[in-house]
């Protein structure tokens, strides 16, 4: 590719593909006020069904498209019926978490069935290119444009002229009023999930053909891009989603033209954050539109936390403290070290998501900031490791809070999107800022843990160190929560309007929570860096953010002891049952789904 026209064509074609995902997201958001994080998984499923059809069944192209659309729609209907409908009367955050769990499960099922290795997905079209002006265009470009336009037309006709389409439009403008006209909202949900899934699946198929490659990492990328396009266009706004998608495709394509391929996603997420901060209702939302989120909290399932007697806590702490003095295997210690590191991250997240109600999906970024800071301090400036880790914690606290602060005025699901995007941005900046982070090569030869000049290399000493750090952080957090500050945090979570009316400065309290949480997560990342001795931009990824979220929900949102119990359970149980590594993410997804459905307050209860 060389000419600007080529980049424009490429941008519009990619934008068309995003639009197929984003329109589905917009339909679902319109009707259910839900950001469907499983949309990318359906896209993935569509791509693989397409692969089976093309490569194994040798279906002709039109039939391939129909097969993919129908199969994906079925998946969408199943998700709606069994994953989301049971949660209708649940807390607001429940369906969002459920779609995250569903996406883990679907992605893992695809990975287990087809292996994570990329596959070629031939386009079934002749490989010719026509000269158009200064650029070229191929049959696949025309196909994608054609599918995009046809879908838009069909959708328009459906929404404008069919009874169900009217119901969809009415329900997305005022769900309760639509019900009072006799609209069955379940049928509307079914319709939008079916349509969204069909479009998403076809999008996956087309993308696979466009790049002649499919792999399981496509899923999260597609969800993110779709969400960006949808939010840019104005959440729930179907034509807006199309325009947002084309805009995103163009921004990315020109960005790649000027800066190079590794910047592609950075532009997408920066666009998202800029739009969220400057125009949270999207570029095309009219000012009159009601805020798309309910104003008050209820993010947390109300519950009575399980009271654990002080002696039991002390006893448990003592048992874990003296564990290394008994003949336990290296394997057990290793597992528990992982649990303590995850526990620190969970402490951070349970404070931010549970106590103050900002459900973060980008917490791994805090790990990464802490890890890189600590690694670079010790490697390049020869700072002693103990101090470097503290430096990592402080950097994570400062930088993490600074990065997240523009989104403090967002609410609910938007906080989750913003944190997800910021997490991706951090990882992409690490990838691209080669002079400091060494870019894709990563940092190797990070010195091992040491304290006052003594290297901590034996499993026993590493275990002891990480355990003590975690306990100290937990005690500090416990103190924090029982103080006046802790009460203010919870007041903000439960009703930010009322809290503001009482004169609480929301930004200050949210900053304090992120500073404290950022420090704990940064320390965890710092320790991890010195343990692993090698890190790169993918060491700390979204999967870990979601794992941490599962841990804190398992323990009970806001619950300090719960965060640690959750970490031990989620890291330890798969080991106890010797579950093979490739099934673990699947298990985590299922755990998240079951929790949301049956025990949203977690094991020890929310606080």
């Amino acid at each position: 590719m060389s000419s600007w026209l080529d980049y424009t064509i490429n941008g519009l074609i990619v934008g068309n593909v995003y639009a197929l995902v984003a329109v589905g997201l917009a339909l679902i958001f319109g009707v259910s006020r839900l950001i469907n994080f499983a949309q990318g998984s359906i896209y993935l499923v569509g791509a693989y069904i397409g692969w089976v059809a093309v490569v194994q069944l040798h279906t002709p192209l039109p039939l391939t498209i129909i097969v993919v659309a129908v199969a994906a729609a079925l998946v969408g209907l199943i998700i709606e019926r069994f994953g989301l409908r049971p949660l209708q009367n649940s807390v607001r955050i429940a369906p969002l978490l459920a779609t995250i769990g569903i996406s883990f499960v679907l992605d893992q099922l695809v990975m287990l069935t087809f292996s994570p290795n990329p596959r070629a997905l031939p386009s079934q079209l002749p490989d010719v290119r026509f000269q158009v002006g200064g650029g070229t265009i191929g049959p696949l470009d025309l196909l994608i444009a054609g599918v995009g336009l046809t879908s838009a037309l069909l959708l328009f006709v459906f929404l404008r002229y069919s009874k169900l389409g009217w119901a969809v439009r009415a329900a997305s403008q005022d769900r309760d009023a639509a019900m009072q006209m006799g609209v069955d909202v379940n049928r509307v949900n079914q319709a939008v999930f079916g349509i969204a899934a069909a479009l998403g699946g076809v999008s996956g198929l087309l993308v696979g053909m466009y790049y002649n490659q499919i792999d399981t990492a496509m899923s999260l990328q597609a969800t993110l891009k779709g969400v960006v396009a949808e939010v840019v266009g104005g959440a729930g706004n179907v034509p807006g989603a199309v325009i947002g998608s084309l805009l995103l495709g163009l921004v990315e394509s020109y960005g790649v033209a000027v800066f190079g391929t590794s910047y592609r996603n950075l532009f997408a997420f920066l666009l998202l954050v800029v739009v969220l901060v400057l125009r949270p209702n999207g570029l095309f939302a009219s000012a009159r539109q009601a805020p798309p989120e309910p104003l008050t909290g209820t993010f947390i399932a109300p519950s009575r936390p399980v009271r654990i007697p002080r002696w039991a806590l002390l006893a448990a702490t003592a048992v874990f403290a003296v564990l290394p003095f008994f003949p336990v295997s290296f394997y057990v210690l290793q597992t528990l070290i992982n649990a303590w590191l995850l526990g620190m991250l969970a402490l951070s997240l349970t404070l931010v998501a549970g106590t103050i109600g900002q459900v973060s999906l980008g917490h791994a970024a805090l790990l990464a900031i802490g890890a890189y800071t600590s690694a670079l301090l010790s490697l390049t400036l020869n700072v002693p490791v103990g101090l470097a880790i503290i430096g990592g914690g402080l950097m994570s606290a400062a930088l993490g809070t600074a990065l997240i602060s523009p989104s403090f005025r967002l609410r609910g699901h938007y906080v989750s999107i913003a944190t997800l995007a910021i997490g991706e941005i951090v990882s992409l900046v690490i990838l691209n800022w080669e002079s400091v982070t060494r870019g894709p090569i990563g940092i190797s030869g990070i010195p091992p843990l040491s304290l006052f000049g003594y290297e901590l290399i034996s499993p026993n000493s590493i275990y002891g160190f990480s355990f003590v750090v975690m306990v100290v952080l937990a005690l500090l957090q416990g103190r924090l929560l029982s103080s006046h500050l802790g009460r203010s945090f919870r007041a903000i979570r439960d009703d930010d309007i009322a809290a503001r009316a009482y004169g609480l400065s929301l930004n200050r309290y949210k900053s304090l929570a992120f500073i404290f949480g950022g420090f704990a997560a940064g320390v965890s990342g710092g320790i991890a860096a010195h343990l692993y001795s090698y890190i790169n931009h993918e060491t700390f990824n979204t999967q870990q953010s979601i794992l941490a979220l599962t841990v804190v929900i398992l323990g009970g949102l806001g619950n300090v002891v719960g965060a640690i119990v959750g970490a031990v359970a989620l890291v330890g149980l798969p080991e106890v049952f010797r579950i093979a590594a490739e099934y673990r993410i699947l298990i985590y997804g299922i755990v998240l789904l079951l929790l949301v459905r049956f025990r949203p307050q977690g094991l020890l209860g929310t606080i």
Binding site: Q173, M179, D184
Partner: protein, 244 residues
Amino acid sequence: MTAPDALLALSNVNTFYGQAQVHFDLSITVARGHIVCLLGGNASGKSTTMKIILGLVKPRSGEVTFDGASLIGLTTPQIVRRGIASVPEARRLFADMSVRENILMGAFVRNDREAIAQDLDRMLTLFPKLGQRLSQRAGSLSGGEQQMVAMARALMSRPRMIVMDEPTMGLSPLYVDRVLELIRTINQEGVSVFMVEQNASLALEIAHEAYVLQTGKIVLSGSAKALKDDPRVRDAYLGGSEAA
């Protein structure tokens, strides 16, 4: 036990939002062909009563019957199909749909295309002002016009009963009279009306019976005529300055 001519009856309804109880043994009867008004101050539980009837909120205990059959356990669309239409609090039009589409949404439960078209024409004679506004976005109408659309929309399902939540709220005096007049017209065509109001003096003008709700309990009830002269109602609601 409900009287034989009762179209709608709530008996001993207790409603909760979480821990907070909103209704205490609420019993209300709407006789066939009557206009019944529920009066009460802010936060007394009026809108919640509407939501109970429409199945948007479920009572913890008590019975709601319509035409002799229980509504408990039915979904809102099912209840609407039984013949109850609503004019919700603050109108709740579909702001981005046209006026025509809003009115036709009222006929969502019907499938008789020709009769629906006739009813649309009938609405335009009943609400002549809406004629020029049919293709305008509903969200761009004035409050009074929106109220007309909301009433036309409710009538389009050919309901046996309409429930209205504060139909005169926020309207200029001219429109208030017009709305009350229309409610009476609708009622004379055979539709029973259950309306929630804060403006007691106006409501009692057109109602047959009325109930007074105070923090979730019925404290007074009777014919509109009797209540209009009742000193307690006059003190609380008709006393000019310090209403509720």
